[in-house]
């Protein structure tokens, strides 16, 4: 991607790889690599929300966790604000740990049940030596207020809160260190519909107020579309399409994106009846043993001989529009249907 010298880019991921090794075979002698994330590249601009979608096992969470360096990078570069952080040691990484924060999926598992809410939010302040004593307390109250909770909540424990409120606590904890970039790993999928909207609106407001940049990982496509400026679609550890969110929904090019979008049930009975659903056959193949060539070919109705032989590369077929498919040009021009 030619955004290397662009000052707008906050984070650039280049050919990122994350393999997990797994012993298989008799006596587990054979080493096999599970290529969870296999050579993906994208960039995120300052103040933008980049959505990452895909089915379970496609590597979307692994991507998020690798960027924040919860996992070690197998290959490729993560360039944050001009600096390559992909192989920094923990001490050197500390300032970036402050700049990059994460919100997790399960608000029940991601908060320590034995700590008060005040301590949960205050912990990052202690770790990074940001505030002590009274200023620390003031900051905690301030953060609680930012996420729509009140002072009194600081002395309570997580079990006293509902799912939506816990997610707010998780967000307050992430905001404590004044990050620039927040990775939201399915932050709303464990919440009820009416509560989801509360959290999404809050993330939206915080972004405007604090100038945050988000990487929003989710499998709920309609919510991702709602919150993101640009969206990347992953399939079996490969990026298959990147586009601005409106354009992606209006005119998806990659057959997988098309199928994914047409699988969403629309909350409108008449529209739903009209939609010509493209239902994918079969399941996602095992990432331990992915198909040769294009990984989607086993479920793709357009697949031809070339698809099993050659792996399609992610190419820019129009400005800000990347697709990895041998027939992307034809799909784009509408000559292949």
């Amino acid at each position: 991607m030619d955004n290397k010298n662009n000052n707008d880019t906050l984070i650039e991921v280049k050919n990122l790889k994350k393999y997990f090794s797994k012993n298989t075979g008799f006596f587990k002698k054979k080493m096999k690599h599970l290529k969870a994330v296999d050579d993906i590249s994208f960039h995120i601009k300052k103040g933008e929300t980049f959505g990452l979608v895909g089915e379970s096992g496609c590597g979307k969470s692994t991507t998020g966790r690798t960027i924040i360096r919860l996992y070690d990078v197998t290959g490729g570069d993560i360039i944050y604000d001009g600096k390559n952080i992909s192989h920094l040691k923990s001490k050197e990484l500390e300032p970036y740990r402050r700049k990059i924060q994460m919100i997790f999926q399960d608000p029940y598992a991601s908060l320590n049940t034995r700590m008060t809410v005040g301590d949960i939010i205050g912990e990052p302040l202690d770790i990074h030596n940001l505030a002590k004593g009274e200023t620390r307390q003031k900051r905690i109250y301030e953060l609680l207020d930012t996420v729509g909770l009140s002072k009194e909540h600081a002395s309570r424990y997580p079990h006293e809160f509902s799912g939506g409120q816990r997610q707010r606590i998780g967000i307050a904890r992430a905001l404590a260190v004044e990050p620039e970039f927040i990775i939201c790993d399915e932050p709303i999928s464990a919440l009820d519909v009416s509560i989801q909207a509360q959290v999404v609106n809050m993330l939206d407001d915080l972004q405007k107020k604090l100038g945050l940049t988000y990487l929003f990982i989710a499998h709920d496509l309609s919510m991702v579309k709602h919150i993101s400026d640009r969206i990347g679609v992953l399939y079996l550890g490969k990026m298959v399409e990147i586009a601005e969110s409106d354009i992606l929904y209006e005119k998806p090019i990659h057959p997988y994106t098309k199928a994914l979008l047409s699988s969403i049930p629309i909350p409108d009975p008449e529209l739903n009846a009209k939609v010509d659903r493209e239902i994918l056959e079969g399941d996602v193949p095992s990432p331990l043993n992915p198909p040769s060539g294009c990984r989607f070919r086993t479920r793709c109705k357009y697949a031809e001989a070339i698809c099993s032989k050659k792996e399609p590369l992610l190419e820019e077929i129009a400005p800000e529009r990347f697709v990895a498919c041998h027939f992307s040009k034809e799909f784009y021009e509408g000559t292949k249907k």
Binding site: E55, D192, V193, A197, S222, S263, P265, D283
Partner: protein
Amino acid sequence: MEKLIELKEVKTSFFTHLGEVQAVRGVSYSLNKGEALGIVGESGSGKSITSMSIMGLLQYPGTVKSGEIIFKGEDLLKKNKKEMRSIRGNEIAMIFQDPMTSLNPVYTVGDQIMEAIRKHQNVSKSEARKKAIEMLTLVGIPDPEKRIDAYPHEFSGGMRQRVMIAIALSCEPDLLIADEPSTALDVTIQAQILDLMKELKNKLNTSIILITHDLGVVADVCSRVLVMYGGLIMEEGKVEDIFYNPKHPYTVGLLKSIPKIESKERLVPIDGTPPDLLNPPKGCPFAARCEHAMNICMEEQPEFFHCGEGHRSMCWLLHPDSPKVELKGGVR
């Protein structure tokens, strides 16, 4: 049309050490033969507990306190355990949310389908096996003659849910209760499962109660919808009524809080949190979160108001004496 099942003022409570949790607080509805009814609501609204009450699957400390569940003219609540066992799985079957945990890992898939068949039908082992293969073919499992001897761990999530459906339908039940059948699955697999359910409904004329929190799924599969909140039915109507002309502020709130595909309008969430059913509010359960709440809403539980054929809503706003509020919230 013939009524298959009718619930009359069913109340279910859990008697915990903290007190009585009134999970279902008087629910009445009926379902016709061959109809697909969707029940939507948030967690804790009582939608799953209502169906567990039908199935007689409530576990201690939960019990149905009062009410009647008339299935084919007989009250299920008056049946003893043995009678319920012959109905469950045979005439009423259920599919659960999590296909990963609802199959027994130490028996083959075939054993588990055959178990259901042999329990309710007087057939030989080989006949049951033949029937099981038939069922696997019906739900779209490739190579069923071989796959019948596979164990659940050899199947993917979507395939396991297909097996669950095969077990549920193996005795050709009159009623199928599907509790969030596609929630644990990916969207592309969800589309496959929903498609299969629609197809089977038409083929076998099974009545379906589909419990979900996903309004899209309801719009796709069901013809009628119940909206539940705080252990009560808030609104009931045909899908078109509910989606295009909702008459209850809660339904409106739900529809507003889901993003629209075509626009990036700001979402309108419902503020606050659902009521605590340990001490349910005396009036309308939604009153505390409702922007149109009046004094009476806090004091007295509203009755159902008729808003058209088969469309009813439990809201004081529809009372002739209340101020006229136009609820704008249909998806159109």
